[in-house]
Structures are given as C-alpha cells and as structure tokens.
Amino acid sequence: MSAHAGPVHHAEAPKGFIRHYIFSLDHKIIGTQYILLGLSAVTIGVILSLIMRIHLVWPNAHLWGFASGIVSPEDYLRVVTMHGTLMVFFVLTTVPQSGFGNYFLPIQIGAPDMAFPTINMLSFWTTLLAMLVLLSSAFVPGGASISGWTSYAPLSAVGQVAGPGLGLGQTLWVISIALFCGGSLMSAINFLGTTIDLRTKGLSLMRMPLTVWGWFITACLALLAFGVLLAACILLLLDRLAQTSFFIPSNLDVSGVLLHHAGGSPLLWQHLFWFFGHPEVYIAILPGMGIISHVLSTFSRKPVFGYKAMVYSLSAIGFLSFAVWGHHMFISGMNPYSALAFSILTLVIGVPSAIKTFNWLGTLWGAQIHFTASMLFAIGFVSLFVTGGLSGIFLAQPALDLYLHDTYYVIGHFHLIMGVAAIFAMFAASYYWFPKMFGRHMNETLGKVHFWCTFIGVYCIFMPMHYLGYAGDPRRYASIESVNYLIPLHSVHYFITISAFFTAAAQLLFYWNFFWSMGHGKRAVDNPWHATTLEWAVSTPVPHDNFAGHYPTVYRGPYEYSVPGAADDFVPQHLAPEQVAKA
C-alpha cells in the first residue's frame, strides 16, 4: 500500500447496475450484501434445526430431500454439522460485524467509506464463495460432513473410512472454512485501518460510540484468531490430501483398516481450533454488546451508564478471550493441572461481562423508556445474557464440567448467550437502523408481536435443555430412544420441538416486515429516534460518500441524552456548542 492508502472515492456512485449493486466498492452496499448473505444462511440454519427437532421426536417422519425418505443417523449428523457451521460462521460472525459494522462504522466515525474499499469487496465475495463451497458439499457423493462444526480430528482427518460424509464432503468443509478465514482476515484489517485512521476531527477514542468500540475490538480478535484457524485448516487439509500426520497418531484401526499415519496429535487440532473458537464466541457477541448499549441509551434517553467501564470491560473481554480456550477441553485428556488455570481465567472473564450487565441495568435506572421494537429486543438481550451467562459459571468449573460437558446443558448455555443473544442484537439493530438504510420504518406493531413471540419462544426452547443436561442427555445423538435413561425425557423433547416451530413461525413476521417495509413502510426522517451519533446527522437516503463532501466535526461524547440546560433531550455529537439550544 502506498502512503496514500485512503479511500479513492468519487462523490458519485457508479452508474451501471453491476458496479453499483453487485461488485460494489461502497461499504453500504457491501454491508447490505453481508446482511442478505446472513439472512439466507440463517434461513437455511433454522430449517435445519427444525429437521433436527422433527427427527428427534418423530424419527419416522417422511421429509422431502432425504435419500431414504426419512432422516438417517448420518443425515442427522450432516444436518447438525451444517446448522452449526452456517450459524456460527455465516450468521453470527458476518452479520453483526461485516453486515451492520460495514454499513455504520464509516458513517459513525465521519468517514466517506472503509479504508480499503476493494479489499472490502473481496472479503465479501470470498465469504460468499466460502458459503457456496459449504452448501455444495451437501450434493457431492457421500454428502456433507458429519463431524460437527468443531470437526474434531481424527474423525475429520482420516477420510471416508471413518464414515459417510467424511470424504469429499469433509474436504469441502475444510476448504470453505479456510476461505472464510481469508475473507474475515481481510475484513478485520479493513475495520482496524478504518477505525484508527479515518475518524473525523474531534472524534477521539473516548468519544466513539460503543458500537464502534465493539466492532474495533472484534476486528482485533478476528485478526488474531482467524489466522490460527486458517493454519489449522491447512494442516487438516494436508492430513487429508497429502498423507501428513499433524492430527493423526500411529496405529489407528478405523473400520478394520490399519492406517499408515504416525506421530500426530488429536489434541493439537482442539488446541488450534479452540484458540480460534473461544475468541470466536466473543467475535459473535461483542458487536452485539455495542449495539445493545447504543440502543438502550437511545431509548432510555440517558447516557450509557459508565461509558469508560464499558470500554474497559470490552477490552478486557477481548484480551482475556485468548486465555480461556482450554475450558472447552477439560475432559479432552489435556493436562489436568492446566484445567485449573483455564478455570480461574474463565471465571475472571465473567467479571467484565457482569460489569456490562450492571451498566446496562444502570442505564435503565432513572430512564424514560421508549418501548420501540428495537428497545424491546435490547431489553430482551439483557435478560438472555444474564441467563446464558450464569450457566457459564457451572461450565467454567472443571469438576462440574465433568458431568455437564457435551450434554444439552451446553447447548442451552451457548444458544442463549452466543446464538440468541447475538440474534436479538441483530434484530435490535435491524429495527433501529432500517430507517437509515432504506428510508422507511419497519412496522412497529408487527415488530413488537415478533419480539414477544421470539422472546417467549427462545426461552421455551433453550431453558428446558438445561434440565435435559441435568439428566445427562448427550448432545449430537441421532435418537432419544437409544439409552434407557433418556426415555423419561421425551416430554421435554416434545416441548422443545413444539416451541421451536412456534418460534420459527414467528420469524415469518420479521421476513414480511423486512421486505414489505423496504417499499411500503412509513417514510423516515433523517433522525427519527432523536439520536445523537453521526449516522443520524446524514440525510436519508445516505449520500454515496456519506456526508456529501461536508465532513462533520465532533464536539462531545456519543450519548448526550437529557443533558441539563439543553432544550432538547438529545445533543448530537456534531452540533457546535454555540448551536445547542438552551432550555
């Protein structure tokens, strides 16, 4: 890169459809592309989860698209693997960061675009290619991988001798994830460069909206974590294709075949994978934390309680997230002494998470809460974050993990705190920013109905999973009939399946609202929520270079709501002190 690596920009958008909407360099179009990619991935992911739920309670149900008409055990594991991979990588990692972050980071810091628009376009197209490769694996001989989204070696390393889907399907899985790593690395560099270099005049670090902090810290994590996963994927690919033995020990006898590998370590894969994998859960949730702080403050009409504590706790979470990966490996055969260190560090990372929760509650204290659909999802997020966080206190203790590991308890825990909480943040962001993105509002009433159904629905799905865990129900079992002690748990599984259908049906309200409102929603003014940050200072629709050449100066922190002495209950960041109307 030359010294003038800033965005090369024309004030006018390119005219042609292809350059404008397909191979676009505009961060707003790319952000929207990421959101649509995530929306397709989450749609497939939810359908797959319904297939799992149907199969568990009605194992002989005839489902379209499966070879034998019904879901076989290997089909079930293919669905498990595809669901996890799509949701973790192509939904939770892309939408909050590359989707909403791409769209709003440059605007919130007063920049015309991302620092490297071409790299931005490349990272989207690499991610799309990764998703297509992943989906294509379902249609190759042997079908998609059955080794789960964690792809533990040697199951994932030795080829189709270990089972169906572990041949070409598994190879495509590894290639897809390696491509995804490439896309995420490019995106991370872009976010870091943009945040560091392109902030407008007056926007010091401690005046950045917490959304920007969330995206910035997430980009740091992504840069450090995805490189490790990329390396791990390359090693796994070599084991599979070039007969190396990074993850395969000697004398394996798989399905009666003695393998000619020697010297590898299955635990090495787990260390590399979780060294990425734990920061990854924070990659999924930190942008959400930023969004929730942002929305809570706006609709509480109050500054974020303890802004600096929020910034420091985000940073602490980011830093500690690289020192806790071993808590995924308490029962893996890793040195049991290291489990104690990982346990204490994991409990310590709970502290900044607790600080954030207290500060969210503090933000509501003394508020005048406006119950918009966006705000409902933000409040729901806090409840889910508390519930999902507390079950983490159990799993952080290796002695308790001895029992709970790989049971439905873990499924309940991470879906609440990483899956559903992050998705609530995306919903909050959608209802909040839709007017700026599309110039129209989403329907508030539909949004509220959508919230209540989803909030109640997800609790009905994931709370009972904790009780399954207490009873010792193992995850990734294709049948709930195979073990005697699972029989009394059938009623719980039925309840979860019914709740899953209810909750999935409620999402149709969101799809309808999202697409219908693009063309028919109530027209939005430039700053409909009376908010303070720079995305509300630009006109709607947002000009191609965001600020139409007039870049703002920032005079104050991001959440100046209900400031004593000011006439309005919000004081925008870009308003010069002499322009602020006195009460």
């Binding site: 030795v158 104690l340 809460i369 119950f371 206190i393 203790q397 790989d406």
Partner: protein, 277 residues
C-alpha cells in the same frame, strides 16, 4: 423543564415484561427445586463432593439470577416513559468498583473451591490394591479388558485387530500375558474397591460417561488416560459415548454392573474358565 406526551402504550410492554420475567424466574425456581428432570444419585465419594459444589453454585447463581431478572423487570416497569425527562446520570465509580470486586471474589472463590474435587479425580493416586481395567473405544462400542490371574495386561499388536475372529483389541497370541486377559463388552466392577480405568481408543475420539460416577473422560487415540474412583453402591448403570465419533455415536452403549466382592470374584472365575477353553 418542558413536559411532553408519554410515548403511546408504554405501560403495556412494561407490565408484559414484568409478567414474562416473573414467570421465567418462578418456573426456573420450581423446576430446580422439584427435581423432575435431575441428576441421578451419585455412587462415589467424589461424586458427592461434586454434587456439593454443584449445589453451592446453584445457590449462588440462583440468587444472582433471581435478583438480576427481578431488577430488570422492576427497572423496566418503574422507568417506563411517563412524559418526563430522564435523569442525567453518567455512572458511578463507587458502584463500578463495588460490583467488580464482589463478582471477582464470588467467581474466583467458586473456582478455587471447585479445584478440590477436580484434584480428587485427576491428581491423587488410586487407592492401594486398585483394580485396573482398560477401556477401549472403537466405532461404535466399548471393550473392557481385565488383566486376568497373572495381573498383567498382554501385548497388543494393531495389525491383529479383528473383531470377527474374537480379537477386537489385537491381543498378541504369542504373548503368555495376553492369554488370560479378559475382554468383555460390558463393565463389571466390585463395590467398595478402588478402581483405575485406563482409557484408550482404536480409531477416533470417544468419551466415557457414567452419570452416577459423575465422571466423563475422552478416550483419545494415541494416549492412555487414567481415571480412578471407588463405587459404593451395587447396581446397573449405563455407559454412553459423549464425543461425536461417527454415525453410530448415539448407540455406542454399555452397561456398568457394580457387584458385591463375592459376586465379582464369581464373575471373574467364570470368565477365566471361558478363557481357558
């Protein structure tokens, strides 16, 4: 201070939040106290220690859970929009320091207390005269090997592994120590005697789990992982695999039979007699 109209319908969501969160708290408390779906009784001393630690964690997190959800419900109800101006509060250093310190002490304290039972499972030596059993996972079943009368496990030759000729572990036919080894698909253990399991795998990673033992441990190819405990209750318990090992993962199942010392010796003699044939 100018007053304005409260945003429409602000009471309804506030009340709904209170109702939903209170139902969540009440049903969670009920199901944790009623034990409809719950842990089976532990059958080892360390299992009782783990249950004690679990109980302590339930109490502490339970208190936090109830307080946090109720606080959220109360705040949302109390501070719904009533057309006034919100209080201008930036934060509080005292509160930040207070809740940081309290959570740090509670969380780390729990971790330190839990370290003890973890140490019991993994650091201590098995008791004197422990019975050694080798546990081998293979897609999709468990094999359990006892050393037999000579007290020595025989040599294993991987290329001799062949379940169809009755040699699922690949015991070396030329090794005299292997001749009397007992290999069975279910686990038989005497009550009140220290046990040491040695976990290994022939192919991919499996995980040995018996709920009542409160022990779960991966069986990893390439390494041997010891686990020790003493069972103090006679009965039959289910052994499952808890690490995804392939398409038959869900039916990788065995039974743990805990026998009286006399019954166990009788079972051993029967196996030895079969081996001798």
């Amino acid at each position: 201070m100018s007053s304005r109209k409260a945003s429409a319908g602000s009471a309804a969501p506030a009340v709904l939040f209170a109702i939903v969160l209170l139902i969540l708290v009440a049903s969670t408390l009920f199901l944790h106290l009623d034990h409809i779906w719950w842990f089976p009784k532990a059958i080892t001393p360390v299992g009782h220690q783990i249950d004690h630690q679990m109980f302590l964690t339930f109490v502490l997190t339970g208190i936090v859970f109830v307080l946090a959800q109720v606080a959220l419900a109360w705040l949302v109800f109390r501070y719904r929009d009533q057309g006034r101006r919100a209080s201008f509060i930036r934060g509080s250093h005292v509160l930040e320091v207070m809740w940081t310190t309290i959570t740090l002490v509670i969380f780390v304290g729990l971790g330190v207390m839990a370290a003890h039972s973890w140490g019991e499972v993994h650091f201590g030596a098995p008791g004197a005269g422990a019975l050694q059993v080798e546990v081998t996972g293979v897609q999709f079943q468990w094999n359990f090997r006892y050393a037999g009368p000579d007290g020595k496990f025989g040599k294993i030759i991987p290329k001799d592994i062949d379940a169809s000729v009755g040699n699922p572990l690949g015991l070396d036919p030329s090794d005299p120590a292997a001749k009397d080894d007992i290999v069975v698909p279910d686990l038989y253990l005497p009550v009140n005697r220290p046990i040491e399991l040695q976990l290994r795998s022939q192919d991919v990673i499996h995980s040995f789990f018996v709920r009542e033992l409160r022990v779960k441990q991966d069986a990893v190819p390439g390494i041997v992982i010891p686990v020790h405990f003493t069972v103090n209750k006679i009965g039959d318990y289910e052994v499952t695999c808890n690490q995804l090992c392939g398409l038959g993962h869900y039916h990788m199942h065995a039974v743990l039979h805990v026998l009286s010392q006399a019954d166990f010796e009788q079972w051993e003699r029967k196996q030895e007699a079969q081996n001798a044939q």
